[in-house]
Structure formats: C-alpha cells, structure tokens
C-alpha cells in the first residue's frame, strides 16, 4: 500500500466518522467511486460506529442526585483543607452544647423568677428540636463516613503502587491509615442517634468489617492480602450498597 493510499484510508475513516466536509469530503467520495477497497473500508467503519451507537453509555445517568455529588466534592475538599478529627470534635461539641443549653436555660430562668411557672412547654420543644438535631447530625456523619469509606475502598480497588515488585507487595499505607482514622470516628458515630441510623446499620457494619481488614494491612502489604480485601468488597457489592444507602440517608 502506498503512502498516498494510506492518506485516503485516513480520509475514508474520517468520512465514516462524519467529520469530513467541503472539498475534502467531495474528493474522498470521488476517490471511493474508483476504489473497491476504500468502499469496503468505509462500510466496515460505518458498521463499527453503528455498533458503538448501541452502547448504553450514551444514555447513562450518574444515578445519584447532584446534591449528593456536591456533598462528596465538599467532603473531599474538606479532607484536603482541614483536619477531620477537629471537625468531628466540634460537631459533637455542638450537640453537647445544645443539650446543655436545653437543660440549663430553663433551670436558670426558674431560679431568676422563682414565682414564675417553669417553662415546661419550652423544655419539651427543646427536646424535640434536640432530637431532630441529633438525628440530622447522625445522618450527616453517617453519610460522610460512607462517602469517605467509599473513597478508601475505591482507592484499594484501583491498583496501588508496587512498593516491592520482586516480592509482589503493594503500598496501601495511606488506605490503612485512613481506614483506622475512619473507624475511630465510627466509634463516635455509634454514640449518636441510633434510631435514625437503624436502616443504615447493616451497611455500616459491612463497611466497618472491610475497613478493619484494610486497617490491619501493613503499609507494604502482600498483593494477595490486598486482593482478598478487594474480593470481599466485590462479593458484598459494597460500593453499590454504599451508594444506595447514601441516597437513602440523604432523604
């Protein structure tokens, strides 16, 4: 095949792909009228592109609300810019402060005005509001926990760097550290509203279990051990469960 004909073949492909126009298109069509091989080439390329037109990816949707994606991006940015334990600490401190205020303020009011009737209604409303606050926070923290766990598991599923190619060991130090950090925060989550997280418990426990496996890995782990964790994630269809549960928690 000559170099010139190779150029025609390129043009024939581009014609099939629908990106030729004007004089170049006319010239290619004219050449094809005299070239059997080019016509066959064109027909084969059109058939290929027709097959790709059936690919469901053309109509695929992310399957999660934009708000959820936004929250994941925000969480990632938080992870980059802030120390997470600090943030969790403050969240829990906020709950504790709200609880304290709900108890102390009515007591102070009754002391200042001993003759006045204690504001029972206000206390009852405060309790309701507090429960709602706790429930929302528990859901928010569970959502964040799942999102970050998902990041760790996806990172594990992707091919980590070899830390010792000869001994088939891979570097999962970052994943192990992040898993342990997540599990530490999870113990705080357990102390939060349980009722609001009842439906999430099976998924959370599945995630805990796998994170414990990851956390137990050495930073330069055997490839077989990493593969075992990866298989556990696949067998439990954990990433799918996390996605669905996150959607439910978002309400």
């Amino acid at each position: 095949m000559t170099l010139l004909h190779e150029r025609w073949r390129t043009r024939v492909s581009l014609l099939a792909a629908g990106v030729l126009d004007g004089r170049e298109r006319e010239a290619t069509l004219a050449h094809m009228a005299t070239c059997d091989a080019c016509r066959r080439d064109h027909a084969a390329s059109l058939a290929l592109l027709e097959r790709f037109a059936q690919d469901p990816v053309h109509a695929a949707e992310p399957g999660v609300p934009t708000a959820f994606l936004v929250s994941r991006v925000q969480a990632r940015l938080d992870a980059v810019t802030a120390s997470r334990p600090w943030r969790w600490g403050w969240t829990l401190a906020s709950v504790a402060l709200a609880a304290s205020l709900a108890v102390i303020v009515p007591a102070i009011v009754s002391r200042v005005a001993p003759g006045a009737k204690a504001p029972e209604r206000a206390v009852a409303m405060g309790d309701d509001a507090l429960r709602r606050l706790e429930r929302n926070m528990a859901r928010e923290q569970a959502l964040r926990y799942l999102s970050e766990a998902q990041d760790v598991l996806v990172s594990m599923a992707a091919n980590p760097r070899d830390c010792d190619r000869d001994k088939a060991r891979v570097d999962v130090g970052d994943e192990a550290r992040r898993s342990q950090e997540l599990l530490n925060r999870r113990t705080l989550l357990v102390e939060m509203d349980q009722e609001g997280l009842a439906s999430a418990r099976p998924v959370l426990e599945d995630v805990d279990h796998v994170l414990q496996e990851v956390a137990s890995l050495r930073s330069c782990a055997r490839a077989g051990d990493v593969e075992r964790v990866r298989r556990a994630v696949e067998e439990r269809r954990l990433l799918m469960k996390i996605r669905l549960m996150s959607r439910e928690l978002q309400g």
């Binding site: 390129t10 097959r51 996605r243």
Partner: protein, 195 residues
Amino acid sequence: MDSWSNPGSVEPSDGELLQRLAGGERDALAPLMERHQRRLYRVALAYVRNPDDALDVVQETFVRAFQHAARWDGSSEVGRWLTRIAVNQSIDRYRRDKRRRATYEPLEEGDHDERTADGAPSPERTTAGSETMRRISAALAALPEKQRAIFVLRHYQEMSLEEIADTLGLHLGTVKSGLHRAIHGLRQRLAELQP
C-alpha cells in the same frame, strides 16, 4: 452582588461561576455541577467503563476545578476545560486500574437500569446490551490512551476535530490520524472478539 441568588438577574455564566470558585466560593460548585455533571459522567463512563469509577472521576474533576479555578484563563470554554480535566482523571484512574482490568467485569444492566432515561430494557435488549457492552469495553480497552480519548470525545460527545484538538491540547493532524487509527483498531479488536 451574587447574581445566582438574585431572582431578577440572569443565571451566572460558567465563567462567572469559575471566577467565584477561584475566589473560594464553594456555593458556585452546585450550579456548575448541575450543568456539567451528566455530560462529564458519560465521558468518564465511556472511558473507564465502570459506574463507580465514573462517579469518582466526576467528583475529582470538580475537586480539581475548584482547586485550579484560578488557572482558567478564559481562552477556552469552561465545559471544554472541565472535559479536559475529566479525560485526564479518567486516564489516571484507568492507569491505576490495571489490576482490575485483568479481571474485568463488564457493566451489568442491573447497574444501569436506573440510569437509563427510557425505563427498563426488554430482556432481549438486556442480553444484547450486555454482550454489546462487554465487547465494546474490551475493544476500547485495547486502544492506546490518546486514541481512546479521541474516539470517546468524537463518538460519545460528538465533538468536532477542532474541539477535540482544543480539549486535549493536540494538533489537528494528530486528532485526525488518532481517530482513524482508533476506528481501525476497534474494528480489528471487535473482529477478534466475534464468537
């Protein structure tokens, strides 16, 4: 004044939103993501062929967009700039995913039925769709990165050659030859995969 919150004003342009991101305003993420996330998801999914990975690519694309918004100089469309980030993220993820590629699992209809716009597929379509996807994914996997990116942007985004060149930072001639080679490579690979 924040024109997004002003009911009397038109919606801010992509460029304005990016400028707000550059100023550290995270509120600008939501409208920008609302506009672009579906398209970027399809670019990523066409490339990485896994819904979870594609979602991660979209997420990382907007994280990078926020972090590097100040670098956008206004010379190209924001959509194209985001697409370029998404393609680079897809390539990175795909590189790191060699091990999983070795034990590749095709997208299953179960992963997709809630993502398609036209309701549940028929059983025939489901079977045919799975097989089509399996072969398409395998054929795409055999392409070199650049050819794969060029083909994805042309076939799944219907970009012109010039737009692809601009998005990927390539010469027009490179895009032309890359598309031609991608088509021939896919033809060859699919022929090999025929039962």
